[in-house]
């Protein structure tokens, strides 16, 4: 297995799928000549030409709609948002058009397309550029929502997303592009809707997704030194969500912490906790706790930003609390 960056894993997925199916094309701001704002599409213009790697003006609503129209008549668009923060300008096309087209047409028009781009807070980008959007899109029937945390999952999920006949919201961790990991050689596919047990232990379950999966793995490694062994359930896809994997883990550990990058109210964690109380009520030895961003817009100052974000320390504190160790 080769060790590659999250960015290169995504590029591999794009390249392989563009080669495999000539109805697949990529469009977005700076994806072609500039090689991508985050360089995910580096080299693709040279290989596939300007009809398939399409630079757009700064017009999110416009090009998201172009993607929807192209998908309606049989192409497989990949629409890149420079960041998901900008995608709010296009949310009508994602939610009102892409997500509902199959249903409101009585099954006549499917939407084989991917909306992708960086998600979540980076460093000191301020309130408008530091947000995790998964709970917004996971709310919508008709969409699928991927949140890969590792290079292998990024590649495998993106390939599945491109091949899927439904609109997939693909949220890449803005801070993850330079992270490295092993990616299986050859064709590597990760099915949508299947969680991955990234660490195994029977003292507590940490249920998480996206960038926070890395935090959870680090926490698991640190706590192992103290003799605390935790399950890290990386959901990978938050819609459809792998309820079975969550239940399996919590029924084993009897304790759970739900860790996410976004805000508390109506966050992904709210939904996960709901599944846990329904599926594992009699298994729980402690109330489930959640770790998430503080309930404030993201501040700029370094110390405030650090305080606002969920992190390993907050996660460890929550785990110890549900284990009645603090």
């Amino acid at each position: 297995m080769a060790v590659v960056t999250y960015r290169d894993a995504l590029t591999q997925a794009l390249r392989e799928e563009l080669q495999r199916d000539d109805t697949v094309f990529l469009m977005g701001e700076e994806v072609a000549q500039y090689n991508g704002a985050y360089k995910v599409s580096k080299g693709l213009l040279d290989e596939f030409g300007p009809m398939r790697i399409v630079d757009t003006p700064i017009t999110e609503l416009g090009f998201a709609g172009v993607g929807v129209g192209a998908a309606m008549v049989g192409l497989r668009p990949i629409v890149e948002f420079m960041t998901w923060n900008f995608a709010l300008l296009a949310i009508d096309e994602v939610v009102n058009a892409a997500a509902k087209m199959l249903y409101m047409s009585g099954g006549q028009y499917k939407m084989p397309m991917v909306f992708r781009g960086p998600n979540g807070a980076a460093l000191q980008l301020g309130a408008q550029h530091s947000q995790a959007w998964e709970s917004w899109f996971a709310h919508i029937p008709g969409l699928k929502v991927c949140t890969p945390g590792t290079p292998a999952d990024a590649k495998g999920l993106l390939k599945s997303a491109i091949r899927d006949d439904n609109p997939v919201v693909f949220l890449e961790g803005e801070m993850l592009y330079n992270t490295k990991g092993e990616v299986p050689d050859g064709e590597h596919i990760v099915p949508l809707g299947v969680a991955d047990l990234k660490r195994e232990g029977d003292h507590c379950s940490v249920i998480t997704h996206g960038k926070m999966a890395l935090v959870a793995m680090r926490v698991a490694d640190d706590l192992a030194k103290e003799g605390i062994n935790i399950d890290v359930v990386d959901l990978r896809t938050v819609r459809p969500i792998d309820v079975e994997a969550i239940s399996r883990s919590v029924q084993k550990t009897n304790r759970a912490v739900v860790l996410e990058e976004g805000w508390e109210i109506c966050g992904m964690g709210s939904q996960v906790v709901d599944f846990i109380q329904r599926e594992c009520f009699d298994d729980l030895d402690a109330p489930v706790l959640r770790v998430h961003q503080e309930d404030v817009p993201m501040p700029y100052a370094k110390n405030l930003e650090r305080a606002a974000k969920p992190d390993a320390g907050k996660t460890i504190a929550a785990i110890k609390k549900v284990m009645y160790l603090d």
């Binding site: 709609g65 172009v66 049989g74 192409l75 096309e93 087209m101 009585g106 028009y109 499917k110």
Partner: protein
């Protein structure tokens, strides 16, 4: 429903009425009829009458509670749908907003399946899941009925993009009302269509009111066509009550799209004879009864009828027969819809996601 809304739209007259708008001097028969044959003219009249009679039955069904939700009738605008559809091919694409019944029928979507959709029945074109605002029909490349003002305009650009991507020579027709020209999606779509040379014909059906707001209260520059220039796009403004004018304009736009791969923005000036939807009064709030009546003199069906009558190619009896056919089609659609079962409950959960086979 108000008494006004129940009033039947202008009937087909028994004989030509002198001085009717539409006979305003600029319509020498030779010019207008040039591009059509008697058979085509008969079909145009038939198409418009089917829509009219269909929509009248919709109003009736709505009053009886057979149709629910929002229901926007097309009465008064039929020359546009009929004129446009008569100039395009079966492999072309059509996408529109929520005032979509007439356009669907003019495009060739079965009136039965449209009415069944409105009744919320299993045999509806969208299986009863779409309703009045979401008429879809893949067989005729009718890409919907969309309910968010302007939201479908970029989608039309996307269809144009796909045509170009595949090096096809189809066109995509995109209908919307004049109020949509103030929304961002319209501007973003027009910019992209022109920038990328997409074969899309954007049609503004200017019926002068976005719901209850007149164009003078909504639009800084009422010359909506000037927006074509802003995007380096060809534009035309035509009398949307005259099906021949609509056809002539479409002939130019379609040729531009197929040969030059260039988009066109067309303003078709029209008037809606009913309320914005079935929920509002036809007149009395945002427009006067006098204004409505004045505009109803330019009923597009009357305009066409008078021209055909003048030419002498169809007798009054023959034209009545066409109207009877239209009424029979509307009745048949009603009967079909009424007999169609409700969608089975298990359909609630289908079509949320497509099965992915690849």
């Amino acid at each position: 429903m108000s008494t006004d809304a129940k009033r039947a739209p202008a009937p087909v007259p028994k004989r030509k009425e002198k001085g009717t708008p539409g006979d305003n001097g600029d319509t020498a028969p030779g010019k207008d009829l040039a591009a059509t044959t008697p058979e085509i003219r008969r079909e145009l009249l038939h198409s418009m009458l089917v829509q009219r009679r269909f929509e009248e039955r919709c109003a009736e069904a709505y009053a009886l509670g057979k149709i629910g939700g929002f229901c926007h009738l097309y009465i008064g605008q039929e020359a546009i749908s009929t004129g446009v559809m008569s100039m395009i091919r079966p492999d072309d694409y059509v996408i529109t907003a929520y005032r979509d019944h007439g356009q669907a029928i003019a495009r060739g979507v079965s009136p039965r399946s449209v009415m069944a959709e409105l009744f919320g029945r299993a045999d509806g074109c969208s299986g009863g899941k779409g309703g009045s605002m979401h008429i879809f029909d893949a067989k005729t490349n009718f890409l919907g009925g969309h309910g968010i003002v302007g939201g479908h305009v970029p989608i039309a650009a996307g269809v144009g993009f796909a045509i170009k991507y595949r090096r096809g020579n189809q066109v995509c027709i995109c209908f919307f009302g004049e109020a949509a020209v103030n929304i961002g999606a319209f501007h973003e779509a027009l910019n992209l269509a022109s920038l990328w040379d997409l074969p899309v014909i954007f049609i503004i059906e200017n019926n002068r009111y976005g719901m209850g707001t007149s164009i003078s209260r909504s639009t800084a520059n009422e010359d909506v066509l000037i927006r074509a220039k802003g995007y380096r796009m060809d534009g035309e403004s035509v009398d949307g009550q005259d099906v021949f004018a609509v056809r002539e304009c479409m002939a130019r736009a379609v040729e531009r799209a197929r040969k030059e791969k260039r988009p066109t923005l067309i303003e078709m000036r029209t008037y809606r004879f009913m309320g914005h939807s079935m929920s509002d009064a036809v007149s009395g709030t945002y427009r006067t009864k006098d204004e409505l009546e004045e505009n109803m003199k330019r009923d597009p069906i009357l305009v066409l009828h008078n021209k055909i009558y003048e030419s002498g190619e169809l007798s009054e009896g023959e034209m009545s027969k066409i109207d009877d056919e239209a009424k029979a089609i509307a009745q048949d659609a009603w009967d079909f819809a009424d007999a169609s079962p409700e969608p089975p409950l298990e359909k609630l959960y289908t079509d949320v996601y497509a099965d992915t086979s690849s």
